[in-house]
């Protein structure tokens, strides 16, 4: 094997545009599946958006006695309580749903749990209480942040490229965001603020990937005026392929390091990111570019006409003078 290794062999020329028959149905099915999962099973909303209390305890003397722990916490009469191991056998996550009775009722949960599990057998690793009012606001600002990002990106692409590219880029990242939400519904990983952060990062990354390919498409369009658009897109995607794959791989390597060594706190975030980067890479190759075929990106009548017109005007004035 030759060193350095080429992940994408030189002269790779894959007919991405021809794969539309396979690609489009796969994409649509995945989107549909994500929607079905989202509306049937739903995402496992964490306390950030649903409100409630989440307490992480660490059993000081060996593995936690789950049965006893469950009995103790159930005995407090707090309604819907989830108890599960996280990370090691010693670490337990206790989740209590929002209590009726406003903000102060949530505080009572903490005191009760602390009192019931106090006495040295358990160490309190973390306590999170999100009241009903704040959880509503977090859900709202979260949604706004995602919409704000998408709008910002559209404006940026519109300035930097033409509007067709803007729509294609947004379609791509909406696709990625939907599949990531589907991933959360499928795996039932806690969906909280950090998950939203993951989705936003994935959106940013998806766009980054797409933009690099778009840059190339535009460059080729300008250089080879006669090349059919299908070939332009294929050529640009192939030329960017090495970069697209290399960057995804380095990112995935970084994420794998985080997943395995970064501890339980960031694990769900990292899992979503690993999936998201994979989807974003695939979609920038298979969707972002190819979708442009539906728009007439070669003819840019407005700009070209304007340019031509002003040139003509100039010529006219010069001639007149």
């Amino acid at each position: 094997m030759k060193f350095p290794i080429r992940i994408v062999p030189d002269g790779t020329n894959l007919p991405f545009m021809k794969w539309a028959k396979v690609r489009t149905p796969i994409s649509l099915v995945l989107i549909l599946l994500s929607f079905v999962l989202f509306f049937t099973v739903g995402v496992n909303e964490g306390i950030d958006f649903k409100g409630g209390t989440s307490v992480e305890v660490h059993s000081v003397n060996g593995p936690a006695d789950m049965a006893k722990l469950r009995a103790t916490v159930d005995g407090l009469g707090l309604g819907d309580v989830q108890i599960q191991n996280i990370g090691t056998e010693n670490d337990v996550l206790i989740r209590v749903a929002t209590q009726p009775g406003g903000e102060e009722a949530q505080q009572a949960v903490v005191s009760k749990v602390r009192a019931a599990l106090g006495g040295g057998a358990y160490e309190f690793r973390s306590v999170d209480v999100v009241g009903p009012r704040v959880s509503g606001e977090l859900a709202r600002t979260g949604t706004l942040a995602v919409l704000f990002t998408i709008a910002g990106i559209m404006i940026y692409i519109w300035f930097r490229f033409e509007w067709q590219f803007g729509i294609a880029a947004v379609a791509t990242l909406v696709h990625d965001a939907i599949l990531t939400v589907g991933f959360f519904a499928l795996t039932q990983i806690d969906f909280n603020l950090t998950s939203l952060a993951a989705i936003l990062t994935i959106i940013g990354y998806s766009l980054n990937d797409t933009v690099v390919i778009f840059d190339r498409i535009r460059e080729i369009l300008r250089r080879y005026k006669q090349m059919p658009v299908v070939d332009v897109i294929d050529l640009a995607t192939n030329q960017s392929l090495a970069r697209t794959i290399m960057t995804s791989l380095t990112l995935e390597l970084a994420l794998l390091a985080l997943f395995f060594f970064g501890g339980p706190v960031v694990r769900s975030f990292t899992a979503a990111m690993i999936w998201g980067i994979f989807v974003a890479t695939a979609s920038s190759i298979f969707i972002g570019g190819p979708i442009l075929i539906y728009f007439n990106i070669r003819a840019r009548p407005e700009k070209d006409n304007k340019l031509a017109k002003s040139d003509a005007d100039k010529a006219g004035t010069t001639a007149g003078a």
Binding site: F3, P4, I5, R6, I7, E56, H58, E103, E104, Q107, V110, S111, R114, E123, F124, R125, S126, V129, V130, G131, R133, V134, T141, A145, V146, F148, T149, G152, I153, Y156, R160, L193, T194, A197, L200, I203, G204, Y205, N208, V211, V212, R216, Q239, A242, R243, M246, T247, T250, L253, A254, L255, L256, A257, L258, F260, F261, G262, G263, V265, V266
Partner: protein
């Protein structure tokens, strides 16, 4: 592109050097830093609560309770105003929802009533620059004699601002007395206060200190009745009822007007009662307070008065002799800690309104330490993974990219330190992710160089064009990532903001290291080794 004027070389090296130097203070103790020469960077990264452990408490002013309290006060004021000479007859005075209502009996007195009541609307100081004044209450007077005060929306906004400012001062005084940790207290949005206490594993004491309004009042006791009696009969006008702290069945009927309030206190200290040896709180009154208290106690020897804290009677001692010295004692089944807390609360003054916790996040020190260890491990592993991968895929040029990557890591931590930014666990995740992004610029450049070399350019020209052509794309890629980082910053509180900050800093620092530092290295290498082919 491969030629650098000398000043640029120095500039780039200087930035890298400053980056390295800014990292150093993080490995030094505070005392070593103190002896550090002043021209060297000395600020350290601040660890977020999720890494060093601590409590994050978000409080909200209880608007409804505050409004209700103000409406009750207003009711008493209305009664006093109308009963003043000449007396104006009224019926049905009371609080109804968010309003105070009453009906003037004699419609001929309506104008007089209106002008008198108008003074109760309470103009609020709306700040120096704003024209016109904001009133706390809106007043409507109907032709049929129906008078209605309602709490004005503008007044509420204004009041919330003042309440938050006052509360922050009071909380600050209360917590300073605690003396252990150094919490930060700040306004957070409309009517909210954020208290962050690093290193506090169980914030119960903190919550006890902040959660209490600590409104202290002394009232003359009129009667003592049982809870059942209280249910059956409404209180007489001018009389208020407060329950006993220890015995829920005992209800005190006291005169509505307070003899004194917490504002008359000059000092409060914990002590032990000489006879019972129980913890008590000794208080000293201000000059004016002492005079008032002296007069009242002289007039009422033999009668009990109630010490009321937040509408609960702590104790109701009988006045045995006039208290002229301006000091006294509060006893009432205290533990040492609860007596201490009360003394702190009384010294710090009362909160203008009740505060409720709407969000709490506490991280124990052990989880924080684990997170730091995990974050460092992940960073090192990620660096090694990426470094090896880059060398495997790009050989010598990959190694150059690795040097830039390491410079980037130092630069990022250096910038974070210099800014005194807060590093959170998601922030560390941001640094690790940035490493993945950092080599992206290198990948773009190197792939371009390969293409140019394949297209038949000379070695130097291929290297040069690679840098030139990739630039626009790198800028595009970085700017789009920056948009996401800004959105994340807007979205987030605490930890997620940390992620956004490291991501944003990373985007800028990688632009510098991947583009300038790598280019400088490649330029030096070209001059030194005079390569015949592009080694890709």
């Amino acid at each position: 592109m491969l030629y650098f004027p000398r000043w640029q070389v120095f500039g780039i090296l200087a930035v890298v050097l400053i980056g390295f130097l800014s990292v150093v203070p993080n490995f030094l103790s505070k005392s070593t830093l103190a002896s550090w020469p002043s021209f060297l960077p000395r600020s350290q990264i601040v660890l977020g609560l999720d890494l060093q452990g601590g409590a994050y408490l978000l409080y909200e002013v209880d608007r409804n309770e505050y409004i209700q309290k103000r409406l009750r006060d207003l009711t008493a004021d209305v009664r006093r105003t109308l009963l003043d000479n000449p007396r104006i007859g009224y019926t049905g005075l009371g609080v109804q929802g968010q309003t105070v209502q009453l009906r003037i009996r004699d419609l001929s007195q309506l104008a007089d009533a209106k002008s008198r009541l108008d003074k109760l609307r309470n103009p609020l100081n709306a700040g120096l620059l704003s024209a016109g004044s904001v009133y706390e209450f809106d007043l409507t007077v109907g032709d049929d004699g129906l008078v209605r005060f309602s709490y004005s929306a503008a007044g509420l906004t204004q009041r919330l601002k003042q309440i938050v400012q006052q509360s922050i001062q009071v909380i600050d005084r209360r917590i300073n007395d605690l003396g252990t940790t150094e919490p930060s207290i700040q306004q957070s949005g409309d009517g909210r206060i954020l208290v962050e206490a690093p290193g506090l594993g169980d914030p119960q004491r903190l919550k006890d200190l902040i959660g209490q309004t600590a409104q202290l009042e002394f009232h003359m006791v009129d009667d003592e009745i049982s809870a059942d009696q209280a249910k059956q009969t409404p209180p007489k006008p001018g009389i208020t009822r407060f329950p006993d702290q220890t015995n829920a069945n005992v209800i005190y009927e006291v005169d509505e007007g307070a003899l004194m309030t917490g504002e008359d206190l000059a000092d409060a200290q914990t002590a032990f009662d000489q006879q019972t040896n129980e913890p008590v709180v000794n208080f000293r009154l201000t000059g004016g307070g002492a005079q008032k208290f002296g007069q009242v106690t002289t007039k009422n020897v033999g009668r009990p008065f109630a010490i009321v804290l937040d509408n609960v009677v702590i104790s109701a001692p009988v006045i045995r002799q006039p208290i002229l010295g301006g000091s006294g004692q509060i006893s009432g089944n205290f533990t040492v800690e609860s007596a201490n807390n009360l003394a702190i609360l009384l010294r710090a003054g009362s909160l203008p309104a009740k505060l409720t916790i709407v969000e709490e996040r506490t991280v124990g020190a052990s989880l924080g330490a684990d997170s730091i260890r995990a974050g460092i491990a992940a960073s090192i592993v990620a660096t090694v993974f990426i470094a090896v991968f880059m060398i495997v895929c790009y050989g010598l040029l990959g190694a150059f990219a690795d040097l830039a990557l390491i410079a980037n890591n130092f630069l990022m931590i250096g910038i974070l330190s210099a800014l005194g930014a807060t590093l959170t666990l998601p922030g560390i995740a941001g640094i690790v992710l940035t490493m993945g992004m950092a080599v992206d610029a290198n990948v773009l450049i190197y792939e371009r160089m390969r293409e140019e070399a394949h297209a038949g350019r000379s070695t130097i020209a291929a290297l040069d064009t690679g840098f030139r052509r990739a630039f626009a794309t790198i800028i595009d890629a970085h700017l789009t990532a920056l948009i996401a980082a800004i959105a994340l910053f807007e979205l987030g509180s605490g930890p997620i903001r940390g992620f956004a900050v490291t991501l944003a800093i990373g985007i800028i620092s990688t632009l510098f290291t991947a583009y300038l530092v790598t280019r400088l290295i490649v330029s030096g290498w070209v001059r030194w080794a005079r390569p015949k082919v592009v080694p890709l």
